[in-house]
């Protein structure tokens, strides 16, 4: 049985390794891959899927 505080497991799209995400992860959230440090975007939650996050663009910011 899982609870709201259990970490979530997902596959790192670059290395294929299983990585642990916070329990309260959000769609659209950016996660640093613990394996490569690459920024990954949470695409869906059920099941949790990740993609490499878009590259920084010039008009990003505040």
């Amino acid at each position: 049985m899982t609870t709201d505080t259990d970490p979530v497991l997902a596959e790192d799209p670059i290395t294929g390794e299983e990585i642990e995400l916070p329990a309260d992860v959000e769609v659209g959230e950016i996660i640093d891959s613990p394996v490569t440090g690459t920024e990954l975007e949470v695409i869906s939650l059920d099941p949790v899927t990740l993609e490499e996050a878009p590259e920084l663009e010039e008009d990003w910011g505040e």
């Binding site: 959000e26 959230e29 878009p54 910011g61 505040e62």
Partner: protein, 311 residues
């Protein structure tokens, strides 16, 4: 309340905001602008019946267009597209501050490298060259010599997007190793911090260290006036101390319209997300009251589950 959030990337800032909204049992409509279409009269985004939409787009261009479209449909959105338009462009930002008599660094804009060189020489060295659109201290140049100026201008003219041919030249302000970031809501400060660095750029995004800062009366006044100058909203007002640390004299160099508050939350004792949500609730109530006063003015229907929401 039903609160929409425009985004394309959930940073720590958005997560803090979402947590606070959920803690208060608000219904949240997350709107990933990358997946939506915005027509002249309708959008695929489910914005019907939202009490307010908060723009948290990381991309300035998406922020400006998405808020403009929502505003045209009569959807209450903060910050307003007008505020975004002024804040997104450093030249418009500087003009708005100057027109409101808010002290701001001397600035000139030129459209050719020859004219830009004249501006640089008139300021003397060092001076600063900034892109008109950009953030986090990126592509900012402190120019110490004429030869450096020539090289940077040639690079910008040759390699840059057309906006890099709008040369924004500014006096170099000899700040005391720090600047001040104030997050404010309609001119009222939420919290403030200093950002310090040995580097001339002190942005938190550049690794500047942060400390809470108590605003004095002059700073409070300038934050209020700077906010008003750009049309109000939730803003990041950046000030530099002139005449040394603690001088009590400031210049306002920038006002940001999709302000990040993660660093400020960590640096201060203030619950910044809670204060921001307090403000959003107040704004939503004010929008609703305005709507009641002019019922029938907005063109938002009651569509809730359509693929394309007709407004």
């Amino acid at each position: 309340m039903r609160i929409g959030i425009l985004y394309s990337r959930i940073r720590r800032d958005e997560k803090l905001l979402l947590e606070e909204l959920r803690d208060r049992d608000h219904e949240i409509e997350k709107i990933d602008v990358r997946k939506q279409r915005f027509g002249l009269e309708s959008t695929t985004a489910n914005v019907a019946d939202l009490d307010i939409v908060v723009d948290r787009c990381l991309s300035t261009s998406r922020s400006l267009y998405a808020t403009r479209f929502l505003d045209s449909y009569g959807v209450p959105v903060v910050n307003s597209p007008e505020t975004g338009d002024v804040c997104a462009d450093k030249a418009k930002n500087s003009l708005a501050l100057a027109e409101a008599d808010v002290p701001t660094p001397a600035t000139e804009v030129a459209f050719t490298k020859e004219a830009a060189m004249e501006a640089i020489e008139s300021f003397g060295y060092p001076c600063v060259l900034k892109p008109v659109v950009g953030s986090w201290g990126r592509l900012m140049a402190k120019i110490d010599t004429r030869s450096a100026a020539e090289a940077i201008l040639e690079h910008k003219e040759t390699l840059g997007h057309y906006e890099h041919k709008v040369f924004y030249v500014q006096e170099f302000v000899d700040k005391p190793g720090r600047d001040i970031r104030v997050v404010s809501v309609d001119g009222e400060p939420v919290a403030a911090m200093t950002r310090s660095s040995d580097h001339w750029l002190t942005n938190a995004a550049k690794g500047g260290t942060t400390e809470p800062f108590d605003l004095d009366d002059r700073a409070l006044e300038l934050v209020e006036r700077a906010s008003e100058a750009v049309g109000g909203g939730m803003l990041g007002v950046d000030l530099m101390e002139v005449g040394g640390e603690g001088s009590g004299e400031y210049t306002v160099h920038e006002v940001n319209h999709t302000v990040e508050f993660k660093a400020l939350t960590e640096a201060s004792d203030v619950d910044v997300p809670a204060r921001v949500v307090d403000w959003l609730e107040t704004k939503a109530e004010a929008f609703a009251a305005d709507g009641d006063d002019s019922s029938g003015d907005t063109n938002v229907d009651d569509a809730t589950d359509a693929d394309e929401v007709v407004l």
